[in-house]
Amino acid sequence: MTNSRLQHVIPGALILAIALLVTYLSFTEEPAEAFLFPRIISIAFVGLAVWNFIRAAGGMAKVGRGLAMNDAKNLMPGLIVMLILVFWAAKALGFYISATLAFFTVYSIYDPAPHSSTKDWIKRAVITAAFMAAIYALFALLLKVQTPRGMFI
């Protein structure tokens, strides 16, 4: 089995597993009336998942490049910032503080400009501040959205 074929077989199998789980739940959970529509969907879901899996296993699935190791390595730091932001920092530190930190971190990580010069660091800080000021003006002042305040604001 080639690498690319394996790349398609794994998600195909995962989706098939989800489809089977959904079908199982749809036909066993109560009350039956509420699951009437999910049942219809789940049958189509399983059918298509099987079809997709067969195509993947037979090497007929060619659309999509799959995940590349290099991409994964590149996006990992950003992804970690995202996860920390959404699942912890936004609530614990407050929306504006955590978003400022996230913006600055992501920008700094992926900025090609040298990380040794002070001038570039100042530029990053200024752009972050300007962007967050715009966000604050839009959401807090204009739309009056109340965001979690956490420890700060």
């Binding site: 009350p31 060619k62 590149n74 959404v86 609530k91 992501v106 972050t128 962007f131 959205v145």
Partner: protein, 505 residues
């Protein structure tokens, strides 16, 4: 031609000021991720407390038309559809922006919105009594079939693989059933607590479209010489107008479909853009160009979702039935001034109703002028360096998805869906059919349940869902649509043996 005699009301100084404020404010609100037209109009209701009924409605009318068009801005520049109506716009519009043609895409989208919008409002002016009766003809069984008709579009929508398109749609349909069901109140598929409220459509839209794009930017790593930051050329308005007149097919398909779908209460403008986009592609000789940044895709989608604005108010004004959530908010705007819509509203309060309709007409034109004026400036956003763009979209996604319902659960679902979609996209699945499933799932499911209950008290489901001229027409359209997409996607592919892998790159 009665409406012409009330045009004077719109040109009073205060009214004109409100018209400007409504249009400009509406464009900004519409362009903000997470703010749907419904929420934007609801936000403006308190301002109308201090105004006369006519003035209040001028503000709301102008804001309604321009928020719908404003959603295209973030869809094109950031690939964050402001509302379900703008999903189809993002497909080609964002590709154009990435090529540096953001200004052109914005011009076309505003012009197409304006044309569609004006025609929609004209329909409202001239055909209201006729259309009102027609809008009432759609019962649960018909709405169910219309939703299914929407589902049949899934297989061919923005997907290089027919099976994967259908499968994406199925995943979307299933995701839509998560949460407490609307009628029975039973819990379905709640694996983690954050899901107990179900998947809210706007955070889901932000996650499915914006997050994969951010991750794609991350995946490029620390790129120094960025190819994507091409110069954004200034685009001449005259050229855009000329281009629009050359794309009459897409424009008319969009306008006609938008008007018809807008009229049907309960389905609303959510799917108008997507259906119009799909049909415009079906009728186009350059099918393959759709999805790669084809201007006709933007034109069809945007003309449809603004054409739906006028007709969607027909059931509201004549029968006091709001056909869409936004219409329901506008009903509130009428009621607080003691104006009860009904078949006699045009006789009882002509100055209010006609001024309102006229303000939508002028609002459309103002929106085009203002939109085009700022397009060149706004298009620079797409030129921002990748790290700033990625960080900015991430922060906007956080705030946008939170402000919909002020729930951290929504934000977490947004991110989870986004990461899942990134992985799925790498294997050839796409977001558009998934979102279409997510939108149509509740519509189809609830009308199915609703219809089944009525059928059980009458002659049974067979008679209720499968007889009557309107049902049969809709079923015929469903069958034709399935047959068509099956033929084009399966048989043609196997006859011509197009090497799929090449097309994917």
């Amino acid at each position: 031609m009665e409406f012409l005699s009330y045009f004077g009301g719109v040109f009073e100084p205060i009214a004109l000021m409100l018209l400007f404020a409504g249009t400009v404010g509406g464009l900004i609100l519409g362009a903000t991720p997470g703010l749907s037209p419904t929420m934007a109009v609801a936000l403006l209701i308190p301002f109308t407390f201090h105004l006369s009924p006519t003035q209040g409605l001028i503000l709301l009318g102008a804001a309604y038309t321009s928020t719908v068009a404003g959603g295209a801005v973030s869809a094109i520049l950031l690939k964050i559809p402001g509302a379900p109506a703008n999903i189809a716009t993002a497909l080609d519009g964002n590709e154009m922006a990435k090529r540096g043609e953001g200004a052109r895409a914005l011009h076309l989208s505003f012009l197409a919105s304006g044309v569609g919008g004006v025609i929609g409002v004209l329909l409202l002016i001239f055909l209201t009594p006729l259309l009102a009766q027609w809008a009432l003809k759609f019962g649960p069984s018909h709405l169910f079939w219309i939703a299914i008709l929407g589902v049949t579009v899934i297989g061919s929508l923005d997907s290089k693989s027919f099976v994967k398109g259908l499968l994406s749609g199925c995943i979307g349909l299933w995701l839509s059933t998560i949460g407490t069901d609307d009628i029975m109140g039973a819990d379905r598929f709640i694996f983690v607590d954050a899901l107990s409220g179900g998947i809210t459509i706007i955070p889901a839209l932000i996650g499915l479209f914006a997050i994969p794009q951010v991750l794609d930017m991350f995946a490029k790593g620390r790129v120094s010489a960025v190819i994507d930051t091409i110069d954004v050329p200034r685009y001449k308005v005259f050229d855009s107008v000329k281009e629009l007149t050359c794309s009459l097919r897409a424009l008319s398909i969009g306008t006609v479909i938008g008007s018809i779908i807008g009229l049907i209460p309960g389905v609303g403008g959510q799917i108008a853009g997507l259906v119009a986009y799909d049909q415009a592609r079906n009728f186009s000789p350059q099918k393959d160009k759709f999805g790669t940044g084809h201007p006709e895709g933007v034109i069809a989608a945007e003309s449809a979702n603004n054409a739906m604005v006028g007709p969607s108010l027909v059931p509201l004004l004549t029968l006091s039935i709001p056909g869409s959530p936004t219409a329901a908010v506008l009903l509130g705007g009428l009621l607080i001034h003691g104006i009860f819509p009904g078949s006699d509203i045009f006789d009882k309060h002509p100055e209010v109703v006609w001024t309102f309709i006229n303000s939508m007409l002028l609002g459309q034109i103002l929106m085009v002028i203002f939109g085009i004026y700022t397009a060149a400036w706004a298009a620079r956003i797409a030129k921002a360096p990748i790290p700033i763009l990625a960080a900015g979209v991430l922060v906007l996604a956080l705030f946008g998805s939170y402000s919909v319902g002020q729930s951290m659960g929504d934000v977490q679902i947004m991110l989870a869906l986004g990461i899942g979609m990134y992985i799925l996209e790498k294997f050839g699945f796409s977001a558009a059919p998934l979102v279409l499933g997510l939108i149509l799932g509740p519509i189809a499911g609830d009308y199915f349940n609703n219809g089944s209950m009525i059928a059980a008290a009458q002659d049974g489901p067979w008679v209720y869902f499968f007889t009557g001229p309107l049902n049969i027409i809709l079923i015929a359209m469903v069958v034709a649509s399935i047959a068509y997409s099956f033929w084009t996607n399966m048989l043609r592919a196997s006859f011509t043996k197009v090497p799929n892998s090449e097309a994917a790159k």
